[in-house]
Subunit: 312 residues, 2 copies
Amino acid sequence: MNETRQAVLESLEVGPITGPDIAAEIGISRAAVWKHVEALREAGFEIDGTGSGYVLGDVSGYTGPLIEYGLSAPFSIEYHDTLSSTNERARELATAGAEDVVVVAGVQTGGRGRLDRKWSSPEGGIWLSTVERPSIPPARAPAHTIAAAVATTNVAREVGVDARIKWPNDVVVPADTDVGYAKLAGILTEMEGQTDRIEWLVCGIGINANVDPSSLPEGATSIRANAGAIDRRTFLQRVLERYDDARRDLSGTIEEWRDRTMTLDRRVRVIRSGEPVVGTAVDVTEYGGLVVDTGTDRVVISAGDCEHLRPA
Amino acid sequence: MNETRQAVLESLEVGPITGPDIAAEIGISRAAVWKHVEALREAGFEIDGTGSGYVLGDVSGYTGPLIEYGLSAPFSIEYHDTLSSTNERARELATAGAEDVVVVAGVQTGGRGRLDRKWSSPEGGIWLSTVERPSIPPARAPAHTIAAAVATTNVAREVGVDARIKWPNDVVVPADTDVGYAKLAGILTEMEGQTDRIEWLVCGIGINANVDPSSLPEGATSIRANAGAIDRRTFLQRVLERYDDARRDLSGTIEEWRDRTMTLDRRVRVIRSGEPVVGTAVDVTEYGGLVVDTGTDRVVISAGDCEHLRPA
């Protein structure tokens, strides 16, 4: 949003205020005020014209300018009602040099998870991908997945959902299913770069927010099913703010991760270099690797499928 | 090369052989034989027409078909007389889905090393980039840099150059310079993918082969300056064959690396998370990280600048 429009918006926040008063305050013409007010309405801001001037109304709409409005994290928002995949669009922006942009879609028609698995992304969910250019080697990129999992879990807990983390990239809720949990959110981190420094990183986060679980695959659940419908704009803003904090303090984030995980102290089966490894998940490394005690050895798994087993 | 042309070439290898005899052997027309012979000549194969038939002559030219000819590694070759950068072209091919292609250029006009540093790439050098799609996580990609360094060092030693490896990505020759060595070759590995599996990997190798060191930057040397001019085609083929072996046997490759490095047992200064670390390089990990003993601690550096210091 440009500076003048931002100034008009700030005047409206303390309204009611008349057009001429705004014009005088900012030092622009009345016609310019009118144009900016119209543009703000176009962007989704409810602005009522009352007898005593303009009044800013509901700002809970789900548009780029509204998500940016009141967001305390250095991201600009690119919103689309429908996209094939937010990660795909984020990769395009990343390749073109973008930084700290977040792509948000109302619906994804071709959402994907790890190993190119389909990720159902209907209306009502929160589907987003960050575009970042951190100065880290590729080996540290999994820490961004951890940061996103911690951020999503924390905000879900704030609205009353008993969210836990399942290593490496799922946010789940304990449930009476075969595996003992249902999926609430998933994270897919992609990158391009050299062996010692990545060029860009895209962190995709898909949250089953205001979604009816019957429109999701088996084994999935939603925020709405656990705690009622939420304000998507506010929820998304909180996730981005928490994520921004978490990516700046990765060691603190690992501590939070340990506290919120369902995977530690569990018997797990993971795949390492194509071979299954069975053991007890005992720790997570600084960069998000899972430490598995096999009874004879301790191995670190950098990423991959992780199946929770019944106690031996 | 298509199968019929390959068959014509194989007939020529045992020549002299007449056009009609080739035609009869393969079961194609005499006119077709003539067309294939012309195409092979066009591709750089010397084929002499003598009284007793065609004779295959010199095949030491530096073209795509000639580099593929006799190559015992599963790569196809895309050759360009001049390219801005072989890594750039390789990334294009990788993005389009290519696999096991090697881009070779006679000259690079915009060659780059780590941290976007200029890499001088005049006529006479060997400038190549592989396009690969290995099923590995990004954290393991540095092992390809190690494989390329071992391959280049081994082949340089075969032609009589006292090549050593300087961690992470240089092949050097001991020399009476401030730092104690001169650069012979450099390696730049790039990738794109997800945190647990890369999509593609490009390994760029630049070798100062038949180059006059006066046309290279200060601190660089060449194969020619150390051991005389070499046959670039054969040298490149040997490097690709050794690299192909090395990437399939990464644990064996690390052993070879340890044996050929200049960096182990040295005092070094490396940069880790933006902070300098000074200590003795004591080992290299399975995936190519450098283990530095600081006196109070052992830290693993995944990649970065490494400065060799004088003994304390």
